[in-house]
Structure formats: C-alpha cells, structure tokens
C-alpha cells in the first residue's frame, strides 16, 4: 500500500467498508499533490464518525464539540490565517447540532474547506435520522419513517451565497480528489457535500445507489449563475444527483475584509501592556 506523509498509526475504528475511508485517502492524496506538509494543515472537526478523521491523519488536529467545528475553524482562522483549514463534519454535526453555525459561517466567507460526510444518518449514535435523511426513510429510531422534509446542504449553501459549493461521491475517489484540490485552491468558503455510504446503518443510500444516480455537471455548466445553480441543486434521487462544482461566487474572503489586520498570523504579533498607554491617556480629563 502506498504510504503518505499524512499517515499516522492510530487504530481506525470505522466499520470496514465505510465511505469515510475513501474520503480520508482522497484528502491525503490531494494534500500531497498540492505539496502541503502536515504542519501547514489544521484539520478541524466536531463529533461523530466523520469527525474522528483528524485522529487518523498526521497533521495538526482540533477535535471539538459536536456541532461546533465551524466556530472552531473560525477561531483558528483568526489566530493564524496561514494554516490550511479543513473541516470534517457529519451531516448531523454540520446541519443539526451545528446548523446555526453553518448558515453564519458561510456569511463570513472565511477561507476554509468544509467537507460534509453526508451519510444521511447518525453513524456514531447508531442510525437515527440526519437532516439529510429522505422523507419516509426508516431508521433505527424513525421506525415508521422520517416525517420531516430533508434538507439539501447544497441548495442551502447556494441560497446563502456560499462562494464555492460542490458535491462529490465517496465511491469515486479520483473525482473526489479533483474537487478537493479545487476547494483547497479556492480562497473563501469551499463546501463539499460528500455522498458517503454508511454500510452499517444506511441500507438505502449505498455505493451502488449513488453510482446509479450521480452525474457530473457538464462542461457547459456555468457555476456562476446563481438561479441556474439553485435549480440544478434541487435534483436528487431518481432524477439524478449532480456532482462537481455546482456554484461559485467571487467575493472577498473573510481575511480580505479585515482591512485593519496587516498580518496573516495574528497570534504571532508581539504585544506589551504598555501598548495601551494611549487609551489610558484618553481617559484623563
């Protein structure tokens, strides 16, 4: 087996055959191809199966609270914008517990790559519905089927004006690696919704199910057309599932909006208590 500078030797606790393995390999491959070193990276996650990923890669890691990966990524970005930030979240992590952060993180357009491991289920807690589980689908908890409408992360991100929105299929690693590289090269919020089979708890949305339905958006597709992208994003299931870069928007990344910050490593700025003397002087009357 090929080795990578990003390998680490911790025991992996994912189920054999889990779609997460493909995501992990593609990430390592993309990092290598982009010439990134472990110390250039910070892999941020919440809690869940997907969120275990930082433990399985040799790089800086931040494995925070369930649902809170995006605020964590934001804090890291403020402290050190030189770090290449990759956020790995489950669909529950990103869209249920963390849903509020998702909509607001996009508004900042901070420079991160955000992977939703979209297995349409809660893996770690044994199979309950995720926000992306289809209406009517039965789960270990929703035994009569889910009764609320699913949420489409791609549609949602487009509506919020996310500056890079893509979808990939964990069953197709070369394609996924390309998307990952494009996302890593994008300056701003790059979201990738990754169709990730959960071989244990999701018996519907399998490798084969996705293989039978995904199609890459054609060359002619214009990701800059918001309304068209919205329309395309609504496709799902038997109508086909578009993968590739679905939406792009040019706008300043978060750090580029901070006119007053002249450094890319705020944590490295030297500070002294005496710096505040001018402020004290203002308080004399």
């Amino acid at each position: 087996m090929k080795t990578s500078p990003f390998d680490n030797h911790k025991e992996n606790t994912w189920c054999p055959g889990c779609g997460n393995f493909g995501i992990l390999s593609s990430m390592k491959a993309a990092f290598e191809e982009l010439g990134l070193a472990p110390e250039d990276l910070l892999i941020v996650s919440g809690i869940g199966q997907a969120a275990k990923l930082p433990h399985y890669i040799h790089a800086n890691g931040f494995n925070g609270l369930h649902g809170r990966a995006l605020p964590a990524a934001f804090g890291a970005h403020v402290a050190n914008s030189k770090l290449k930030l990759v956020v790995n979240t489950g669909d529950g992590d990103a869209l249920a517990e963390g849903g509020n952060h998702f909509i607001h993180a996009i508004r900042k357009n901070m420079d991160i790559t955000h992977l939703i491991h979209d297995n349409q289920v809660y893996g770690l807690t044994k199979g309950q519905a995720a926000p992306t589980t289809p209406l009517g689908q039965k789960t270990t908890l929703q035994i009569e089927g889910v009764r609320v409408d699913p949420l489409n992360p791609v549609t949602l991100a487009i509506s919020l004006g996310c500056s890079f929105v893509a979808r990939a299929n964990a069953g197709d690693q070369p394609f996924m690696k390309e998307i990952l590289m494009a996302a890593l090269n994008h300056r701003g919020y790059a979201l990738i919704d990754i169709l990730q089979p959960c071989v244990t708890f999701n018996k519907v949305n399998t490798y084969q199910w996705f293989k039978d339905r995904v199609y890459a958006v054609p060359e002619s597709y214009d990701p800059y057309d918001k309304v068209a992208a919205f329309s395309e994003s609504l496709k799902w299931g038997d109508d086909g599932i578009p993968i590739g870069i679905l939406y792009k928007e040019d706008k300043p990344a978060y750090y580029d909006r901070l006119d007053h910050i002249k450094t890319d490593h705020l944590a490295a700025v030297e500070r002294k208590p005496t710096d505040i003397q001018p402020l004290l002087n203002q308080l004399k009357f």
């Binding site: 494995n63 605020p71 050190n80 509020n100 944590a267």
Partner: protein
Amino acid sequence: MRINILIGGSAGHGINTIDQFLTRLLTKKGFHFHSYKDYMSRIRGGTNFTHVTLSDQPVHCHDDALDVIVALTSEIIKEHYDRLTENGLIICDADVVLPEPCRHQVTRLNFKEILKETGNTKGYSMVALGAIVKAIGLEESTLNHLVDKRWTEAIIDANTKTARMAYEATHCVLISIPKTNEDHLVMSGNQAVALGALAAGVGFYSAYPMAPSTGVMSYLTQYETRYPLVVEQAEDEIAAINSIISAASNGLRSMTSTSGGGFSLMVEGLGFAAVAEVPVVMLDVQRPGPATGMATRTEQSDLNFVLDASQGEFPRIILSFNSIEDAFYKTFRAFNLSDKYRVPVILLSDQYLADSTSTVREPDLKALKIDLHLVKEVREDYRHHDLRTLVQDRVVPGMTSQIVMNDSHEHDENGSVTESASNRAAMNDRRMSKLNEIIKEIEEPRLIGDPEAKDILICWGSTAGVVAAAVDNLTGQGRSVGALIFGDLYPLPTKTLTKLIERGARLINVEGNYQGQLRQLISRELAYPIHHSILKYDGRQFSPGYILKAYEEMIQK
C-alpha cells in the same frame, strides 16, 4: 466627605450625557467620584437615573442620603425625595410636582424656556449641568470645558450658553468640598475589563450582545485597528465560546463576555476548554435570573452556577471584581493565570459595577508582564497533556513545525482518544491536581476595619465597596467591626478565614442573592456554618445604609 447627586428622568432625556460631562468636569476639577446608572430595559420613556457620589477620596459606591436631586420628571421626586438631606437641594423642570409643603431648597428652572431662548432645543442635559455646577460650588469657568470632539463650534457655543443661563438661574450653593491634586483616569466597569484585556494582549474577542456585558465589546471594537485585534459579534454564545477556544489553542489570547443567559449556552464549551487544557477568559456580568430575569438590574447570583457549570469535573479559576480599578487588574491577571495553568478563568462582574464609572488611579503598565507559556521551538519529547508535570508550556500549530492535537474526549498524553481506565484516572488526577498549584497564587481576601473585631462582615464582588462604606461608617461611630472582602473566589482561599474562625469571630455574610452563595461555598469547603446573613435580591445593589440597618437589626436580636 462625600456629596451625592441623583439626576433622573426618562430614557431620551440625556441622563447619560449629563452623567458623562458632569463626571468629566469633576475629574478635571480634581474630585474623585463614583457614578452608577439605574435604567429600565427599554430604549425610550420609563424612569432612569444616574447617581454621582463625589469626594476627595476614591469612591466605590453610592450613599443613601442625597445632597442634590435633579428631577426632569415627577417620578424622580416621588421615588427619591425621602432620601434628600435636610440641607439638600432640588433642581427641577417647571412641571415637576413637589411634595407640599416642600421643606427643601428648590431651584425650579423652566428647561424649555431656557432652551428656546438659546435656540438649543436638544440641550436638556446642558441646563442640568449648568445648574449642578453652580449647586456644588464650582466656578462658572468650569463650564468652558463642555466640549466634545464630535461637536462643531456652533454646538459648543450653544451648549455653553445654555449651561451658563442655568448656572445663573441657580441660586442655591452647597458648601464646596476639598479637591485632590492627583491625576486620575475615568472608567466604567466594563471599560476596565476591556482595558485589562488589551493590556494582557487580547487578540480575539467574540461575543453575542447581552446586557449588561455589551459595553466590553463596544469599547474594544473601537480599537481593532490599533492593536491589532479582531472583535466579532458571533451568531450566538455557543459560537463565541467555541471560536475563542480554538483561537486560544492557536496561541492567540482570546476572551468572551456575556451575562448569565449567555453563560448558560457556553457551559459545554467551558468543559471543553478545560479538558483540552486550552486557556480562555470568560466574563459573566451578572444580572438577576433565572432565565431572562431583569436585563438591566443587578445581582450576585451566578457564583454557584459558574462554580460547577458543565458536566464532569475539572479545575477552573473564579475571580470577582471588588471595584472598577480591580476589574482592570483582575482581567489582566486572568490571562496570565489561564495560560500558565491551561485552565479556564471565569471573571464575575455585575450590572452595578459594569455600568458604574469612577475615578481610577493610573495603572503602572510597566509593572505588568505578559506570559504566554508557549513552546517556541521543537521539543522532541513534547506531550500535550504531560502526565509527568502539572504546569507546562504548550505547543500551538504554526509556531514551530511541531504538530499538535486538541481534543474534547478523554485522551492520552498526545490528545488521542482512548478508553483506557488507567489513563482516564491519571488524566483526571492531572487536571484536578492543578488546583493545588493554583491555590498558591490565589489571593487571600482583604481584611478591613478592625481585624480583631467580634463581628466580621463577609462579602465578594462589587458589594465590597458598599460594605467598606458601611464599615467606615461604623468605625466613624466608634464601633468595632471588620470585613473580609473576597476577590478571588475559587479555588477558595481559606487561610484568613480559618484564622477568623479559630479566634471565634462572628461571621456575617453580605451578598446580593437569596441563598448566600459564598456562605454556601465556605460551608462546602470548610464545613463551617455562617449563621448570620444580610441578603438582598430585589435587583438593586446594596447601599451602605441598608447594610447598617440590617446589621443593627441583627445585633439587636
């Protein structure tokens, strides 16, 4: 000697402006002062007031008796008339209703008339200022300082003219009081925190607006460029705490502020910071709870809450502010403590202190030292949670080529998840044992008044100022009483307390809450019962008179 002036009206009457300029003028003239705000949770209307206490000595609280009431509405008279001293003075607008008969000196000014005459329709505050300056015996030239850099010459002229007219129309003169010659700063409680944080080198501040804590953010936001600093309004308090933990784990000093309701949402994050051993500073500006409670009122009822907030067990440091000046130093110190021990530090303020303004001695910034406790070069044997030591510098990403993992599970020395029982016990021991180190740096409570007195009042936080005034008063009456003032609260410093207990002092706890939460903490830590309490939980701060009265009643029994 202290003079108390209460100025009140509706939201929109510019009570804040009066307060701001009056306190500036007083400082210019060499007085010390303390000023606190009482306002309703609404933008217009209602009844608001500011209470300014001036003296030649530093002041840390208001008094009960008033020397001057400036009333723009009749409500103000209705509520506070009884507090006016015999020689006290009322300054009021034309239509304000006074008690009949009124035993006091009154200067009735027709505000609207004056303003019409000077063509300065919005100048309510200037009329009041002119009158007050005269009333407290300051020269007319004092009014030359009614300037602000946002004003045009024309505005300044109109304002000064307005104030002069009121000055002239005010006949009553209070005996003037001695001034000092020291140079002081003027700050509010919230500003003091912001300045303490800036002095400590805070580089990231994220919070969600919540009275009465928002002032910290509003102040900091003005200086983003200068420091450089990122101040970001978060989408919610959960985002705020999680982003500062992450920024801090990347080596940037970071802070958040909130009130109890927001703190509730940060509870999970607090435990995360602790288990990941990431240093963060959190400010809770207390207001009355539970839940939404009373947004613009004061209370000291979050001590129990922050003491054990979050699941599981971990070390934390809790410091409370005894005065505005103290808020500056405690905030500064919080960052150093947090970085050294890699534990969260919780600062307890309250609405009374946060919204109060006072003169403050200028801090000697050169005497302060920032200590980040970061690893600056690659260390072969680095372990992020080193079981061989309790106090260790830490690696952050991007400062060296070393990589590091910050994790919210129970983890091994390198931050990897493990379910090992022995590791769990060892890590728990490591974390909790830090408290034994921290206690060495915790400051003992200050004993004031007669240290040998039979009766010792015990208090914490902003109640310190009021208790000190009460003790002064009793001492002035020739009576022997002391007070033990807690600033640092947890880990609880017990040395001084133990000595008092041993010598059989009668302890009386004075707290702005229902349960006597410091009393409970003392009981929990020392298994010592405090049987006497003076408590207040009506949303308002203690006054010295309230304490004196309660104390007299208590000892009568």
